[in-house]
C-alpha cells in the first residue's frame, strides 16, 4: 500500500456568503421548491440511544450572536457506528448522523439539533460530535468537536482532547442540562477572543 503522489492543487475554499438559506437549508427557511438533504432533526423517535438536543449560539469577536451561520454536525450513532462504508460495522437504522442548521430562524440565533448521544467509537476516543461552521466572513470552514460534560473519565483519556492545551479544553465541552423537556447539551462557540473555541486543522 504505497503512498500515492499528489498531482493536483486543491480547489480554494470561499465563504458560504450570507444567502445560502434556500440552497443548503431550504426547508428550515420555509422554501418548498427544493427539498433539504439534511436538517435539525437527526434522530427519529424510535432511534435507539439517549435522545438529546445540542443547542448553542455562535458569537463573533465583538460578542454578537452570528445570525447568518450554517452549522453541520457529523456523528456516530449510540453504538459508536458511522453510517459510512469505511466503518465496517453494519448499521440497521436510518440514522445518518448528519445534520444542518442555519442560525437565522431562531429568535436568539441558536442552532439546535435533535439527535442521540453518540457512543464511543472504540478507538480510545471519548464520545463526540464533529461540527463544521460556515458563515459570511469565514473564507474557509472551521472544524471543531463537541465533547460531553458527563463523560469526564472518557474525556480525560481522549487523545484529541488531551492534545489541546489544558486551559482551552473547556471550549470543547458541552454542558449537560436536564429538565422535564429532556436532555440538552449547551455548546456555545466563540469565533475570537479570550474564550475562542478550539478549531482544528483536520
Amino acid at each position: 500500500m504505497a503512498s500515492d503522489e499528489k498531482k493536483l492543487p486543491q480547489t480554494p475554499s470561499q465563504t458560504v456568503g450570507p444567502f445560502f438559506s434556500y440552497g443548503l437549508a431550504s426547508e428550515q427557511y420555509g422554501f418548498s421548491e427544493l427539498s433539504s438533504i439534511a436538517g435539525r432533526e437527526i434522530a427519529e423517535e424510535d432511534e435507539p440511544g439517549e435522545h438529546i438536543k445540542l443547542v448553542g449560539i455562535i458569537y463573533d469577536g465583538q460578542g454578537a450572536p452570528v445570525s447568518d451561520a450554517l452549522v453541520e454536525v457529523w456523528q456516530a450513532d449510540s453504538q459508536g457506528r458511522f453510517a459510512h462504508p469505511t466503518d465496517g460495522r453494519q448499521k440497521n437504522t436510518p440514522f445518518t448522523g448528519f445534520g444542518r442548521c442555519g442560525t437565522r430562524t431562531d429568535p436568539k440565533n441558536r442552532f439546535t439539533f435533535a439527535t442521540v448521544k453518540p457512543g464511543a467509537v472504540g478507538d480510545g476516543e471519548a464520545p463526540h460530535i464533529n461540527l463544521i461552521i460556515f458563515m459570511r466572513g469565514l473564507l474557509s470552514h472551521a472544524y471543531t468537536r463537541v465533547y460531553f460534560s458527563d463523560e469526564e473519565t472518557a474525556n480525560a483519556a481522549d487523545p484529541v482532547l488531551q492534545s489541546v492545551p489544558a486551559d482551552r479544553r473547556d471550549t470543547l465541552i458541552a454542558t449537560r442540562e436536564e429538565s422535564s423537556a429532556g436532555v440538552v447539551y449547551r455548546f456555545d462557540i466563540h469565533m475570537q477572543g479570550d474564550q475562542e473555541t478550539v478549531f482544528f486543522d483536520v
Binding site: 492543487p9 422554501f31 460556515f134 492534545s163
Partner: protein, 233 residues
C-alpha cells in the same frame, strides 16, 4: 474498528487566510488563534453519503426547477466538470450543491435587499451527484453581478456557489465559481483574498455549448483525498 487511510492535509497555501484586510467581515469572524493539529480518526474520514437516489433530474436543471408560469429570463448555460481528488482520482457518487443569484443579480434569500427584480420562474438552487467518473452537470441561467456593502461601489463578480463533500468530512469544500474575463474579479476582495483565484474561474467550452440552446462552461474541482488507495479484497 476499521482500517482507513488518512486524508491529505488541507493545502493551506491554496486557501484564503481567515483574516483578510480587504474583506471586512473577516475581521471579527475569522479565528485568530492557531488551529490545533488533529490526528484524523474515523470521525474525519467518514461523512454523509448521498447516492444517485438522493437527487432527481429536475434538481440539476435550474432552468426548470423554479418555474411558476413560464421560462426564467437570462442567458441559459450549462456548467459541467469533474470532481477529482488531489491524487487525480475521480470522486464518484458525491453530492454537488449549488446556489446562485438570478440573471439580474438577485437572490431568492429573504435577506437579499438588492433592488433588482426577482424572477418568478427562477429559484437558483440545485444539486447533482457525480457519476462513476466523477462528472456532474447543471443547466442554469447565468447569474448577474450584485452590489454589496464591503466598501463604496463594491460589486461581487458573477458567481455560482458550490458545496461538496467528497468521501469524508475532511474533504468538505464550499467555494464559488467565477466567469472568464469578468472585470470585477480583480476588484473583488473575496476573489483577491484567494491565492490562485484562476482555479475558481470556469473555462468556456464550445464542446459543451449546445447549438441553438445554451453556452457551456467547464469547472473541475479538486478535493482532499485518502492518502492511500483502498486495499483490494
Amino acid at each position: 474498528m476499521s482500517d482507513f487511510s488518512e486524508f491529505s492535509e488541507r493545502d493551506w497555501p491554496s486557501h484564503p487566510k481567515y483574516i483578510d484586510e480587504g474583506y471586512k467581515s473577516t475581521t471579527f469572524r475569522g479565528p485568530t488563534k492557531p488551529l490545533i493539529p488533529l490526528q484524523q480518526t474515523l470521525s474525519e474520514v467518514t461523512g454523509p453519503v448521498y447516492g444517485q437516489d438522493s437527487v432527481s433530474a429536475l434538481d440539476s436543471d435550474l432552468t426548470m426547477n423554479g418555474r411558476k408560469n413560464g421560462e426564467p429570463l437570462g442567458e441559459r448555460m450549462i456548467v459541467t466538470g469533474k470532481v477529482l481528488d488531489e491524487f487525480g482520482r475521480p470522486v464518484p457518487n458525491t453530492l454537488v450543491e449549488i446556489w446562485q443569484a438570478n440573471s439580474a443579480g438577485r437572490y431568492v434569500d429573504l435577506m437579499d435587499k438588492h433592488d433588482a427584480p426577482l424572477d418568478p420562474n427562477f429559484y437558483g438552487g440545485g444539486r447533482a451527484v457525480t457519476d462513476s467518473d466523477g462528472n456532474y452537470r447543471f443547466k442554469t441561467i447565468r447569474p448577474g453581478a450584485y452590489p454589496w456593502g464591503n466598501h463604496p461601489n463594491a460589486w461581487r463578480p458573477a458567481h455560482i456557489h458550490f458545496s461538496l463533500f467528497g468521501a469524508g468530512i475532511a474533504s468538505r469544500l464550499v467555494t464559488q465559481m467565477y466567469f472568464p474575463g469578468d472585470p470585477l474579479i480583480p476588484l473583488d476582495p473575496i476573489a483577491q483574498a484567494t491565492p490562485s483565484v484562476d482555479r475558481l474561474v470556469a473555462g468556456f467550452s464550445l464542446d459543451v455549448t449546445e447549438p441553438e440552446y445554451a453556452l457551456g462552461y467547464v469547472f473541475d474541482i479538486v478535493l482532499r483525498g485518502p492518502k492511500q488507495t483502498p486495499m483490494e479484497d
